[in-house]
Symmetry: none
Subunit: 215 residues, 4 copies
DNA sequence: CATGAATGAGGCTTCATTCAT
DNA sequence: GATGAATGAAGCCTCATTCAT
């Protein structure tokens, strides 16, 4: 009722967005109604429209924020670590955590990275999402380049296609690991974590400078 | 109006299902209304309910048919070809074609393979979907085993986890290639096909018996 | 499929009507669909319309048949028995049996006896129902008169109002006994039958020639 | 359109409920659509769902309110009057008025008094309806007891069965009087009121201490 | 005669969104 | 600025009924 006085607009947007994110993760965007969001956020339904143009904008903003988090996570990993291999696993781990925290947006983001926006008629937040996506790609591009320069990664790899292929494969792997966690643990006698680790390794090896392994 | 002449039930189901599949691919199941389907299929809305119990059944049946096609495609590939490497690419190619034809169900199927069905209360078609999924997994398991036996694939690979990891990665890759086709062609100077080929190779290498590559 | 050849129209009407009656009793007319009836009767839905104009006609006919049965039951009772008191209980018993067999029509009939039909636009069967209702009333009127003549019933009772009052009260009693059978047996330690018997007696006493009971 | 000014929620519920009651009385609940109710109440169909969860809740609430009115009417009668005979007629009169005002709910209430509710899964209002029903029964039980104690009613009468039998008979009588009012006035030369009065007397006599009437 | 096939009309319910206060 | 109130539009589904064969 007596809302904290004069909170800046951004706080309310934050409250609403975070309530929405939770619901979207649980039920998907379509099954989540504005009513649900309002209730969860503790606002009146009409108030949502004071802070967001419409439902779509909430989704867009959330996608954007989510992308931002992904960017931060990757950016941090590359800042903290210098060794290529460790960097790679940090990134993978970041993705996993991200997927666990935002299962819904994991899909969305993966689907919208490098979207070819009709720069005309899409929510303003979407443009930003696109930009952050590009920034992420650049970060990873640099990571690969540095890996090549340091001699750890094969020279032959084409940066852009590799980034893309990895996005696709990693996200596919992570999502599947999440969907079938039960199946994996029961039928394969390995934890989700182990399963993923094995997958990440497989992928990493394909980038690594091939060394003589046998005789 | 123009009463179709005594077509067997299956024809109508087919008409409806294929109209639905198209719409689902374009807009997703939730955004597709029964009205849309009816219009697209050229029937009255009420007629849909003569051939399907409800919307869910349409979805289920489509998922099942789709899974069946996937099975056929993989099964055929293994029948036609004997060489491991060629088999692998046939399977990949099958998946790509499948994704192009049924983009919507590609997602669904991948999501439902090895579903842990409450074998009680799910549309009858779903159980079948599950069974076909299992059959697909077995086909692939055999493929891997034969590959190992023939000496082409590494002995160390664990069958089940490998199958799973490949499902995840391949589907992720294929979906991404589809979503971003434009981006890929424009920014990477390569066709979607080439992009995929490169990805498939990466993955294949990780299964192959490592041979001396240098020195 | 191969329906018995050339059954007369009435047989089919009977089959349909009796299937309908069963369903109506179980679920009421509104909750019973033509589909249900067709299935239960073993005909195609369209065939129902060969034998009946529409759903309403089925209901009407059933009401009429039902009224006829009631008439027969009362008529028989008066034929078989000559003693007033015994006649009364036979009638009551007949009503009870009738209610148990046709719970749905018990309500309908009671509601439609002496209906003031717009003799214009009501299903033909309804007129007949009305006529049978009148006939029943006459039977009962004669019963009362004979009771008075034989000295068993009070002279003061007005025939028509008494008939009516009895219809109302008896049917109310019987219906309630049926609705609350469980409650009656559990909370009153008496069977439905006993409960009804007591009620019937109460009513009978009020018609009987008052005799000196005390002093 | 014409936004009603800040009427409290209960007013709207009242408006809707009373429009519904009218329609239910005229056509029954099944034949009355939410659209009908909305139109009659002067709201949009969607608005009904702001004030009631669904159609069932409207029905339940109406049944409950109705039962409450019945309770009040009986309760008042017993408060105002002390003499047994007068009390009885007041109760009867209350029932008649009640039936005239809520013909539909008269049926429902009579049908649901002493319902054996699955106390689990029935609209909340239904439980209350049950409770009020019990309260009514208690009121009447006390009335009978006091009548017996004051020497006006026969000692032999069993309280519970008598209450029940009276419910059944009175309601049957009242309903019939209402259904056939025209017939009664035309064919019997008596008003509905007179007809009922006669019936009530008949019933009353059966409870009264039998006194020497003749000789 | 019997029916498979088709459907218009209508029912209940949900929801994003608007607007007056 | 915040919201209670209201609703148009839409969605899923059912059903009595018609009609060509």
């Amino acid at each position: 009722m007596a809302r904290r006085k004069k909170e800046p607009r951004s706080v309310h947007r934050g409250n609403i967005a975070s309530a929405a994110e939770k619901l979207f993760s649980e039920k998907g965007t379509e099954a989540t109604s504005m009513d649900d969001i309002a209730k969860a956020a503790g606002y009146s339904k009409a108030t949502l429209y004071v802070y967001f143009q419409n439902k779509e904008e909430i989704i867009s903003v959330l996608a954007m924020e989510s992308m931002q988090k992904l960017y931060d996570c990757i950016s941090d990993a590359l800042e903290i670590e210098e060794r290529t291999r460790e960097r790679y696993y940090l990134i993978c781990q970041g993705l996993v955590q991200y997927q666990e925290e935002f299962p819904y947006y994991f899909k969305v983001v993966l689907g919208s990275i490098n979207m070819d926006f009709d720069r005309e008629q899409c929510p303003p937040a979407d443009k930003e999402t696109f930009l952050i996506g590009e920034a992420i790609n650049e970060k990873i591009a640099r990571f690969l380049q540095e890996g090549i320069e340091s001699g750890e990664l094969r020279e032959g790899i084409a940066i852009k296609p590799t980034i893309f292929a990895f996005w696709g494969m990693l996200s596919g792997l992570i999502q599947l690991a999440d969907n079938k966690e039960k199946y994996i643990t029961q039928e394969m006698q390995m934890s989700k974590q182990q399963f993923l680790q094995a997958g990440f390794e497989t992928l990493y090896k394909s980038m690594v400078k091939e060394t003589v392994t046998k005789g």
